[in-house]
């Protein structure tokens, strides 16, 4: 009986870690967004919120935002569908949070004679699970658009649904190349596969087979479609706060904040997916379970906990870099028009993804690795 309790307790480690990291990243991204955009635009950015005169680079602004959101009037339109209206932001945030569950942030952790997979949920179809969660997230937006009893919100929800469908198809199709190369739908297997040497018959053990190198086209296609699925500029036709108005036009207070939070959570999920599928996941080059083994023969033995720490640190670093890049794109490019976004999704991303699958299959056939 105590063995089961210990198992549960140990399994709570990765789950708690994922919740902690994702929620904190989601909250911190409001600060990152304001600060990074300011630095890119030769400004200083949010730095006024203070506790007893301590400002710490404006890091208290997310707290101040939360207090403001929670104390604002929580308005519900008279003709709104009350239940759906209240449920919509929770649905958005829930699927944003749940999507991270199968993304591995480290190899196995051996503790107390047990092996723990460092991912919240060990699932053989992990990729499909993440795709499903991202796709289900759009239900929150459609519910919000429908329940608001506002035609602008309805149009925004409709735009969100259309954009999501065109983006999801491209995401799914672009990932298939990665799945073919590593031969698994389990994200932990894909992360492990990226630690293998790339084409050892040509390059020896020098280059790790990261998805970025094995599937460069899929990387660009996935990143583009992934940005589209986060509903942020340049693909923010569902929202368009300043002029075309989006699905959350009738929302105020923390419910509005939850939609914004869902956007940030999806950004974290897309960054995690990009890291896990294309940037080697938790892999550190030349780091194996026993320590560093360099291709020129040298090796450095490391204790197990140090290896796990390096892996988790590498994963988080990569996620932060990808988030930085997503923010860079968000603050550089102007918004696509609705029809441009549709055309990009259906006439560029999707056919190119299918072409990528075809080329990947032919190359795999030629290399003799089914």
């Amino acid at each position: 009986m105590s063995g089961v309790a210990l198992d549960l307790l140990l399994q709570a480690i990765p789950v708690g870690f994922v919740m902690f990291v994702v929620l904190n990243f989601g909250g911190l991204l409001t600060w990152v967004e304001r600060k990074q955009s300011a630095i890119m635009q030769d400004r200083i950015g949010a730095n006024r919120a203070s506790i007893f005169g301590i400002r710490i680079l404006g890091l208290l602004h997310p707290l101040a935002d939360a207090v403001k959101m929670l104390t604002k009037e929580d308005f519900t339109p008279a003709r709104a569908d009350k239940l759906m209206f209240k449920l919509a932001p929770f649905v958005s945030v829930f699927f944003g949070l749940a999507a991270f569950a199968t993304i591995p942030f480290g190899d196995t952790l051996q503790i107390l004679g047990r092996e723990i997979q460092l991912q919240a949920v060990t699932l053989n179809v992990g990729i499909l699970y993440v795709l499903g969660m991202i796709s289900l997230g759009v239900y929150g937006l459609m519910m919000a658009g429908w329940a608001s009893a506002n035609n602008y919100a309805l149009l925004g929800g409709q735009r969100a649904a259309a954009l999501m469908i065109s983006a999801e198809v491209a995401i799914g199709a672009s990932i298939m190349g990665v799945v073919m190369v590593y031969g698994s739908l389990n994200m932990q297997d894909i992360a492990r596969g990226q630690g293998q040497p790339l084409l050892p018959q040509f390059f020896g053990c020098w280059i790790p087979a990261w998805g970025l190198l094995t599937q460069p086209a899929a990387f660009i296609l996935f990143l583009t479609a992934g940005i589209a699925s986060t509903k942020r500029i340049p693909f923010d036709t569902p929202e368009g706060e300043s002029e075309i108005i989006g699905y959350f036009v009738e929302y105020s207070g923390m419910k509005f904040g939850m939609f914004a939070m869902a956007d940030f959570l999806e950004t974290v999920v897309i960054a995690g997916m990009t890291t896990a599928l294309f940037l080697g996941g938790w892999q550190v080059p030349y780091l194996q379970a026993s320590g560093f083994v360099f291709p020129w023969g040298a090796s450095v033995a490391l204790p197990h906990l140090a290896v796990v720490g390096l892996q988790v640190g590498a994963f988080l670093t990569k996620v932060v870099v990808v988030i930085w890049f997503l923010m860079l794109i968000r603050w550089t490019l102007p918004r696509f028009r609705y029809d441009q976004a549709m055309r990009l999704g259906w006439l560029a991303l999707f056919p190119l993804s299918v072409l990528n699958i075809l080329v990947t299959g032919l190359v795999l056939l030629a290399l003799g690795t089914p």
């Binding site: 300011a38 630095i39 890119m40 030769d42 400004r43 200083i44 860079l328 794109i329 490019l333």
Partner: protein, 198 residues
Amino acid sequence: MAYQTTNTPADPKHSSRLVLRQRFYVVEVLVGLALTARHFFANLWRHTLWVVFRVKSARGAVTIQYPDERRPYSPRLRSLHRLVRREDGSPRCVACMMCETVCPAHCIYIVATEHPNPEIEKVPERFDIDLGKCVFCGYCVEACPEDAIRMDTGILEFSAYDRQSMIYTKDTLLALEAAGPNGVPTSPVPIPPSRRPR
């Protein structure tokens, strides 16, 4: 599809017709990202110098942090009025009503009285300016034959919560001094009663 204008400029660099590289979009996106990323890293380095190493010459932002620092004001700036004093401290104003007459906003109100010195004709008993009406045209300064009213205090922060507090009286206006270099106010800002903490 390329966007074409009817009046294509002669200079192809400024033509709105997109060449193939631009229509491909990805290259142009990368060029734009390189530009913003360059700004990001250059400014981040300057911010690091400022915050960590206290190098005060490294400025990572072109913006001016207004309440903490003020941009230099032009010497021609028309700011809050002041009444110039004689050497004995009495106002130089002789209550000739020129400024009150020329004021397009009718915001000056003067009540004249006898000056104790027989060589000076009059002196204002009251000299009120309603800053809620003032349009800061500076006509009163130009109309004054005695150079008794000036708008050079450099003070711009005189907003108030009610109209009554926008009326500045003779004593307040007499107490103000001219701004120092770069338009920095030298006299304390006369905070109206409605803005004082209760």
